[in-house]
Symmetry: C2
Subunit: 265 residues, 2 copies
């Protein structure tokens, strides 16, 4: 069957995939994987091949973005092809073009979802999902702009939390740290003075969501800026207005100081 199935790998390691994702992979004629749109710190390709009993072809950013994933498309025109992607397959927008190209060539596409960093971080923090505004990525210093700061301002004005994904180059093992991200945002604060990223602003840093030992630390920015979060990947939340159940969650699960209670509205 001419078919391209996008399978989400979920988080952290080769056992983040769902049972149905593994079944689809086992029954495929061709299996491809990319590991650059997100970091799965404990993922081992050999162990995954042993799990699914298939040879898995690693495709690079260049092959996907410059050559439009032509090898995957050609395989999918011949038989059932699985493309494994970290997290949930289309939360990063990278592979939408491949899916559109496949449908244009009359290759049916399907998605097997996986746990995404987006819902995992919200879930870990205990902050309420429906109180998050727009999500933003904080880029490396060389590409930095005031956009993430503007998003935080816009969300805070509406009382909403901001989830900041921190930029990464997984293949080059480069990760923007929580500490760097906070420092970059504080530089914008010095110019803009909206009061959304000061030393007294509450924030939550997260490392290795989806692993067995995620680090969560909620504190005022003064306590976050030098905090050691350990290994990557990282993300960062700037809470907006908090319900008392949210401040209690941050105290119970993220080591927030007791003063957080006074932030509850």
């Amino acid at each position: 069957m001419k078919e391209l199935v996008f399978v989400g790998l979920g988080l952290n390691d080769e056992k983040g995939v769902s049972l149905k994702g593994l079944e689809e992979t086992r029954s495929a004629d061709n299996v491809f994987i990319e590991l650059y749109t997100s970091l799965m710190p404990d993922f081992n390709l050999q162990r995954f091949e042993d799990l699914c009993g298939k040879k898995v072809t690693l495709v690079s950013r260049r092959e996907l973005e410059e050559e439009n994933g032509i090898a995957i498309l050609l395989a999918a025109q011949k038989g059932k092809t699985v493309f494994l992607v970290p997290g949930d397959p289309f939360i990063a927008t990278t592979h939408v073009t491949l899916r559109i190209d496949a449908e244009k060539k009359s290759v049916k596409t399907r998605i097997v979802h996986g746990a995404s960093i987006i819902s995992a971080i919200i879930s870990l923090s205990g902050l309420h999902n429906y109180k998050f505004g727009k999500t933003v990525t904080v880029p490396f210093p060389e590409n930095f702009s005031a956009t993430p700061y503007d998003v935080i301002v816009q969300n805070k004005r509406s009382g909403l939390h901001t989830l900041c994904l921190l930029d990464l180059k997984a293949s080059e093992k480069q990760f923007l740290s929580v500490n760097q991200a906070v420092a970059l945002l504080m530089e914008v604060e010095l110019k803009r003075r909206e009061g959304v990223v000061t030393l007294d602003t509450p924030a939550v840093g997260v490392a290795r969501a989806g692993s067995k030992d995620p680090t969560l630390k909620a504190d005022f920015v003064r306590g976050i800026v030098d905090y050691d979060f350990g290994e990557a990947p990282y993300s960062l939340i700037f809470p907006g207005d908090m319900h008392f159940m949210e401040t209690e969650s941050l105290i119970a699960f993220a080591g927030a100081p007791a003063e957080f209670r006074s932030l509850a509205k």
Copy 2:
């Protein structure tokens, strides 16, 4: 070991769980499950028990919300206890109290994430994750208020998409349909006249995200209001400003009419 592990079941059926979620369940002394915070249409408890080789105790809304999950807490104070929850365990805020209570009783808690309806719907639609504003739930007519309408207005003013979760009572098999939700929102439109839910507004209805045959239909509201989405569960997206890749995605994956191209900004 005194431990309470919240395991996400992912979407739709018993094979939505991750390999690590299944492993945690297999090695637990006690296993509980709830199936009321979300609908998993093709989930069968007997088949899941066969998969994990454990007796799984179904807990009701009453036991969790009125009796604070005391049976689960007592089990977790004696040995490793797994609590299985649809989707990602804390995307619905229902179980945060149980987690806080466990930590207060010195029971360690961990989370094994699962695919969430939130990321699945975004992933299926091809709309860009970072362009979604606040998420909202549209309640049944008896609890309806203008809040969901207000959220759509607020998001649209910022050019953002709105994900509307549609209310459900999974145990009673009651589901707010896409058609009903659109009709309720249009009633508010008649009074408020902000122009965000008219017959000419683009919208995307989704049914059975995470199943093998999800229904996606993008159209102007006039084409959505009578569309047959089949079986539950349902959700609904009101797009804000769209990039041309987003309109192309809706045309390719959600049967949007070609006029959607003219909406791209």
